[in-house]
């Protein structure tokens, strides 16, 4: 069965220069293992490849049932010089939640 991350998790975007952070937090503790298996750094890079020019690193936070994605060169040269309407990339948390996984 295919499911959107939006059904399984909530997310928060953050910014540091040209680096975007995306926290993906399971609503239910039981879904953390599934997220950990399916939402790999490579999968996120594929899903956001048209925005994220650099690498995606993933950190696992079992204590929070959360995954943290750190995306390099993702904010069109950086918050202060970006041409984007949303230069911080704050709306991008919901781009991650558009991702569909096999569940």
């Amino acid at each position: 069965m295919k499911r959107k991350l939006h059904e399984l998790a909530h997310a928060r975007a953050g910014d540091k220069g040209d680096t975007l952070t995306l926290a993906l937090i399971a609503y239910r503790e039981a879904d953390y293992a599934l997220l950990r298996e399916r939402v790999t750094a490579q999968a996120v890079k594929r899903h956001l490849g048209h925005i994220v020019q650099g690498d995606v690193r993933r950190y696992e936070l079992a204590n929070l049932h959360a995954l943290q994605f750190v995306c390099e060169r993702a904010l069109d040269t950086g918050v202060t010089t970006s041409l984007a309407l949303d230069p911080h990339g704050k709306t991008l948390s919901y781009a991650l939640l558009e991702m569909v996984i096999e569940a």
Binding site: H10, R12, G14, D15, K16, G17, D18, T19, T21, A23, I25, Y27, H50, I51, G54, Y59, L61, N63, L64, A66, Q68, V70, E72, R73, G78, V79, T80, T81, L83, A84, L85, D86, T91, L92, Y94, A95, E98
Partner: protein, 426 residues
């Protein structure tokens, strides 16, 4: 104000500096030597000073921005005007613009030297809790700083109150986690969290701001004043804990390298979350320095289309503007608000009823930036059918890059203001 009067606080911290704020404040200071601190300082402190006296809390703020000493003097004159006796301590010395060399390398992705960036306008080192301790030890009821790492504004009162050593890494790590949770105020009490039907938050309009009751070990309980809006739950705290963190196992501040991967969270009561367990390792030998530079100009224009084929007409309009400015303004992007401006794709969602073209471009001069909006405005006459609601903008951009500077090269200074006297505390 509710938090200040009903929170039973020992310390009230106002964190008011975003990444670029100091650079903009520095430009104001260049235009007016008495300016350069946060423009809201007077309004906020006028309201808070009497409450600080009545309820016995101390105020800690980075509203000094590019000119902390001028901010301190302003607050002193405010206190005198209100007939209140205040001791004020000011931390300065974070302005390190004079120490920069063109060949210094930035820590941004490519590590390019400063000489590759435009004219520098500001450079501020992020101070930590240690630099603030003499200010707190002076007994001042108001502590004003320039650039200080956001969590450190909160760690300093903890370290002062509990007499933590500046190399007590575990306690500094735990205090840093709490400071990080508090630094965006309402973002941990349910602000920036709500999604109707899925993540509902009660009474957001009257959002309560957070307090944290911290113990001598650096563990704490987050809460808010009863009756205020918002919510403190595991979910709101988790989102805030990871916000802007690029390495959860090694969160670098001037005080410590904190580890958030061992944190434990527990809902101890309604709107109460207990936090503990963060780790800490020795701090780095350098200060991070945020450098502001002139980054050229940006011109923007927007125009709306609605009804059948709205998106197709918006796209055609974008192509026309791009073609007309191709030679003079090559660094341009066009997008349709309502379709792909935020995520550069619509991920297959259905087409909207209305669409708004947005054109934005980086330019070397203000004149070229103005032309971007002018071309969008010309779509009223020379573009596709039915466009309206043009808005245009052109402004100078101040960019920010970072570098690392050895601690020994920077001299923090604390000035204590009392009535008409100014003395150096450190």
């Amino acid at each position: 104000m509710i938090l200040a009067s009903q929170g039973e606080l020992d310390y009230l911290v106002l964190e008011c500096l975003a990444e670029r704020t100091i650079a903009l404040a520095q430009l104001r200071k260049l235009a007016d030597p008495a300016a350069g601190y946060d423009p809201l300082l007077e309004t906020r402190l006028r309201a808070l000073l009497p409450l600080a006296v009545r309820h016995g809390f101390r105020i800690v703020t980075n509203m000094g921005a590019a000119h902390p000493l001028a901010a301190g003097r302003k607050v002193m004159s405010l206190a005198q005007e209100l007939g209140l006796h205040f001791k004020i301590a000011v931390l300065s010395g974070d302005d390190v613009l004079s120490l920069l060399e063109p060949d210094m390398c930035t820590i941004e992705a490519r590590g390019a030297p400063l000489s590759e960036y435009g004219t520098l306008v500001s450079a501020n080192a992020y101070f930590g809790a240690e630099e603030m301790l003499p200010a707190l030890a002076s007994g001042a009821q108001v502590v004003i700083t320039g650039r200080v790492a956001d969590p450190s504004l909160f760690v300093a009162p903890m370290a002062h109150a509990f007499q933590w050593r500046v190399d007590d890494w575990p306690r500094l790590g735990r205090g840093t986690a709490i400071g990080h949770l508090l630094e965006c105020a309402g973002q941990v009490t349910g602000g920036y969290f709500a999604e109707p039907g899925l993540k509902d938050i009660p009474n957001l309009a009257q959002l309560g701001f957070p307090w944290c009751d911290v113990d001598a070990q650096g563990n704490g309980v987050l809460g808010k004043v009863p009756g205020t809006g918002g919510a403190i739950t595991l979910r709101t705290v988790k989102e805030q804990l990871l916000y802007e963190v690029t390495d959860p196992g090694g969160y670098i501040t001037p005080d410590v390298v904190a580890d958030f991967t061992t944190i434990t969270l527990r809902e101890s009561a309604s709107d109460r979350v207990a936090i503990g367990g963060a780790g800490g390792r020795p701090r780095t030998p350098t200060y991070k320095v945020s450098v502001g530079y002139r980054a050229g100009f940006v011109g923007e224009g927007e125009i709306s289309y609605a009804g059948a084929t709205a998106v197709a007409r918006a796209r055609l309009a974008g192509e026309i503007v791009r073609e007309r400015l191709r030679d003079d303004v090559p660094d341009m992007r066009t997008e349709v608000i309502g379709v792909d401006s935020a995520h550069r794709t619509d991920y297959g969602h259905a087409e909207p009823y209305e669409a708004r073209l947005r054109v934005a471009a980086r330019t070397a001069t203000r004149e070229l930036a103005e032309r971007v909006g002018a071309e969008v405005e010309a779509l009223w006459i020379n573009g596709p059918a039915g466009g309206g609601g043009v808005r245009r903008y052109a402004q100078e951009r101040i960019g920010v890059v970072s570098l690392l500077l050895d601690r020994s090269r920077v001299r923090p200074r604390v000035t204590v203001l009392e009535e008409d006297r100014e003395t150096q505390a450190a």
